[in-house]
């Protein structure tokens, strides 16, 4: 009954109620957007517990920054930006870690990411998608994630990634070249 009541509220009402401390309202926000966040985080980091931790962090960060949300953009865009930032930060953190402590640096990081993407993969289609994603450099992978897994237009992708449209377009064409090589190797 309560759940039904909250599922009928629009995002501005849910945000307002959450700021006022309504736990059910924020639960509804998590319910509504968790799959969207999962697609971004797991698409970028793989199907692992690390991705789940980042997913939790996205909603915790959202909760503490809700009062800064002015409603000029959609809530989904706001959440997506948080997810992208935290995911890219995690990739940077991993890169720093592997460059400091691993002998082979980036190669070991790549092996680690491949292992994460292979985790729990029981489906050929998903395996293919994961291999295509992991083969791309993170700056191209995020664009493929936004386009393929979230269905955003190039303009929306540019807005979420906080990049000029021209940069997104050039990265799309460079990513296509990389992807062609990856897919050829997979066949």
């Amino acid at each position: 009954m309560v759940k039904e009541l909250y599922s009928n509220l629009d995002e501005s009402q849910l945000v307002k109620a959450s700021i006022e401390g309504d736990k059910n309202a924020f639960t509804q926000i998590v319910d509504r957007y968790q799959n969207m966040v999962a697609r971004t985080v797991k698409g970028m980091l793989g199907d692992s517990v690390f991705a789940e931790d980042i997913g939790q962090e996205v909603f915790i960060k959202l909760y503490y920054s809700l009062s800064e949300f002015r409603g000029e953009a959609k809530l989904s865009t706001y959440i997506q930006k948080i997810a992208v930032n935290l995911t890219l930060n995690e990739i940077k953190r991993r890169k720093r870690f592997f460059s400091m402590f691993a002998q082979k640096g980036n190669a070991e990081m790549h092996e680690f990411e491949v292992a994460d993407h292979d985790h729990e993969t029981r489906n050929d289609a998903k395996e293919l998608v994961n291999k295509a994603l992991i083969g791309l450099e993170p700056k191209f992978r995020i664009i493929l994630t936004m386009r393929m897994l979230q269905g955003y237009s190039t303009k929306e992708t540019a807005e979420i990634l906080n990049l000029p449209l021209g940069t997104v377009l050039s990265r799309l064409s460079r990513a296509q070249e990389q992807l062609r090589d990856i897919l050829n190797k997979l066949s």
Binding site: K23, F26, T27, V30, D31, Q34, N35, V37, A38, R39, K42, G43, D47, E52, G55, Q56, F59, I60, Y63, N123, D124, A125, K126, L128, V129, A132, I143, L144, R147, M148, L149, Q150, G151, Y152, S153, T154, L169, L172, S173, A175, Q176, L179, R180, L183, L186, S187
Partner: protein, 117 residues
């Protein structure tokens, strides 16, 4: 869905002219889906609301400490003022000697007082 179709969908995603809004649903039909494990929502809610309870308790404690501090400081200040007034009334001045109660004592009487003779 055949692997060749999956590859086509991946490649189409990177075409700037292509509307990609339907690609995910097509991929989902062939089992490509991303979701968090069971209990994800509960973990998030627990973390947020248990943390905010701790913060509230800490804030309450700091507030009560502030109140206690003000009460002690005000009581102390009032005691000092009352003591100074009583010294002024009994000694007629607020010199250091009168504050220490030495105004009526000569050096000899202090020696007598300290030695007990």
């Amino acid at each position: 869905m055949k692997p060749i179709r999956i590859k086509e969908l991946i490649t189409e995603s990177l075409s700037s002219e292509k509307d990609t809004s339907g690609i995910m649903s097509e991929l989902e039909e062939s089992g490509v889906n991303y979701s968090f494990g069971n209990g994800f929502r509960d973990k998030v809610i627990d973390k947020i609301y248990s943390a905010s309870l701790t913060v509230h308790r800490e804030v309450d404690m700091v507030k009560s400490m502030n109140t206690v501090f003000y009460r002690i400081a005000l009581t102390g200040a009032a005691a000092i003022i009352i003591m100074l007034i009583s010294i002024f009334l009994t000694e007629g001045s607020l010199s250091i000697n009168s504050v220490f109660g030495l105004s009526d004592n000569y050096n000899e009487s202090i020696v007598c007082m300290l030695t007990g003779n």
